[in-house]
């Protein structure tokens, strides 16, 4: 086995036991990125020098017999909307092309405390607004399984880097599916934690009542390990919840006896392609074989989730992105001797891409006098109805299961010209953000060589159950172990 193929847990154990050195392993990852990223474009800013320096430091500490952290030496790719001290953080936007954060996000501090090694900042949809990683100012990321296809988004760079073995772990953020969608399209495990489990301090805001930072990984145990490092209370995020973190490892067995699975009919509705349904159903039968029971039922308000989600997300975006005026940081036009309001408007038109402008303007509209009740307030009330339905459903069932995405990965350029068609791709992922419930995407099959993901959603702070289901699928199918043919 080549070093870049190792899972995180094997890297940490290998380094601690001195079977491998952090430097050799990091060099193998760097070589891999150099060989492949020209065609995949998963990274915006690689951080090879810093990574090598850190690897050598870890090797020295191991030699001296010091105890190294729980992620010692592990190469992790960081989505480029998470602030990294001294490392350019662009949000894949021209607006922040040269922005160097003066501080680390809380999740980055926690990774460093456990001796993880940042290997680079990954490509994404601009300001995390998209489902394909095509709206990046730095060009689209390509799907390692088929370079003509999208990798999903918005955390497409993180997922593509992982499955191409250019990183061992990755962080993404999920506002309406941005971890789960690329996890599904690249065939990795991606988890959106319960709202409030992971600190958002240092995450560049898009829609803050919806989003969470979360782990992407190539095995369930790695996903559990990363979540256990980044999760937990942070006083710097006022929406961080102060409860003890679960043990994410103890439930990792494939004994599913007594597990009650609810299958919302709406997750298998007419907008979902038959090929996707077929693979998800075969995974459900795997879970059934391990002792789970399932029942179909209906969540009628789901029909309105997508519209409500986009109204809320755009409204929050219009407010959050008002800060980009090109004054304290961000893009500023060269000739700025005109009136301030014209300069701001020009900085923003040049700094932002079309999708970002679209969402800011639609959000501005939805919040404006005369339309606030009709759009924003109405959407928030529908959010309440959806929450109530999920609460009721999760009294009857332990977990709700369906596909992550309604269709397999599609061609780059195929949908980007038609915003509404693209929004429809998020129909199955947004409910977990509206409700704040945790959700995971797990590889569950291939249509030809294109990956299909299964989504599981459960009650707040029950991530351990999602990881158990992921583990059961990983242990009883081979989808998580398959890799694209990249020579």
């Amino acid at each position: 086995m080549r070093l870049f193929e190792l899972n995180a847990i094997d890297v940490v154990n290998g380094i601690r036991r001195r079977d491998i050195t952090a430097e050799d392993y990091i060099c193998s990852i760097i070589e891999r990125i150099k060989a492949l990223d020209g065609k995949i474009n998963a990274f915006i800013t690689p951080t090879f020098d810093l990574a090598l320096e850190k690897a050598r430091e870890i090797d020295k500490r191991v030699e001296k017999g010091e105890i190294v952290g729980r992620l010692a030496g592990v190469a992790i790719a960081i989505k480029d909307n998470i602030c990294t001290l001294g490392i350019r953080t662009t949000c894949a936007s021209r607006m922040l092309e040269n922005f160097i954060p003066p501080y680390d996000a809380t999740v980055i501090e926690r990774l460093k405390r456990e001796d993880a090694i940042i290997i680079g900042k990954t490509n994404m949809d601009e300001f995390a607004m998209g489902s394909t990683t095509e709206t990046s100012y730095f060009g689209p990321t390509r799907n390692p399984w088929d370079l003509s296809k999208v990798p999903g988004g918005s955390s497409g760079g993180s997922a593509a880097a992982l499955i191409a073995d250019m990183a061992t772990l990755a962080l993404g953020s999920d506002t309406g599916g941005s971890i789960r969608c690329p996890a599904s399209y690249c065939s990795v495990i991606g988890l959106k934690p319960t709202y409030g489990l992971v600190s958002r301090y240092g995450l560049i805001a898009y829609a803050n009542s919806l989003e969470q930072i979360g782990p992407l990984a190539k095995s369930t145990a790695d996903c559990a390990l990363l979540l256990s490092v980044i999760g937990g209370y942070d006083p710097r995020d006022s929406t961080s919840v102060n409860i003890p973190l679960n043990d994410f490892f103890q439930g990792l067995t494939d004994d599913l006896r007594g597990l009650r699975i609810g299958l919302p009919k709406e997750f298998f509705g007419e907008g979902v392609e038959d090929s996707v349904k077929r693979h998800v159903w075969s995974a459900i039968h795997v879970l059934e074989g391990l002792g789970a029971v399932y029942e179909e039922f209906s969540l009628p308000s789901l029909e309105y989730a997508l519209a409500a989600y986009y109204i809320i997300a755009m409204s929050e975006a219009s407010s959050n992105l008002a800060r980009y005026d090109g004054l304290r940081y961000g893009y500023r036009v060269e000739h700025d001797d005109a009136d301030w309001s014209r300069i701001y408007a020009r900085n923003r038109r040049i700094g932002f891409g079309a999708e970002v402008m679209r969402r800011i303007m639609l959000g501005t509209y939805a919040l404006s006098a005369g339309y606030y009740e009709q759009y924003y307030l109405k959407a928030l009330k529908i959010r309440t109805l959806i929450r109530r339905e999920f609460e009721e459903a999760l009294k009857r069932f332990d977990v709700l299961i369906g596909p992550t995405m309604p269709l397999p990965p599609f061609n780059i350029g195929e949908k980007i010209g038609d915003p509404l068609t693209l929004y429809m791709c998020d129909v199955l992922t947004v409910p977990a953000n509206l409700t704040g419930y945790p959700a995971i995407s797990v590889p569950c099959g291939f249509e030809g060589n294109l990956p299909i993901g299964l989504q599981a959603i459960t009650k707040p702070f029950n991530e351990d159950l999602l990881l158990k289901i992921s583990f059961a699928l990983e242990a009883n199918t081979d989808f998580t172990r398959r890799r694209p043919n990249l020579s």
């Binding site: 160097i100 109204i311 893009y331 701001y344 679209r358 501005t364 404006s368």
Partner: protein
Amino acid sequence: MSAGKKHVSKSEVEHIAWLAHIELTEEEKELFTEQFNRILDFFRKIDEVDTNNVPPTYHVLELVNVYRKDEVGEPLPKEEVLKNAPRREDDFFKSPKIV
């Protein structure tokens, strides 16, 4: 393309762009007007739902008024604060002309 109801006119899109401080070209105004009408048409699907007596969910947590202690901490050094400024003069951010 769906026919859809007309929700916003080109002049309304101009107004929204002005509110949002985004300069638009004539072609963009045309394109966004057409796209906004189709997206808003889709959004109006929520009109079907009876939300009488349903309270809004602004936030999924039960948290209200989370305070921290009002203690003086270590501020960022001035150079760090100004490091990302596109224009500066001495120790100040330099803004465009206000009046």
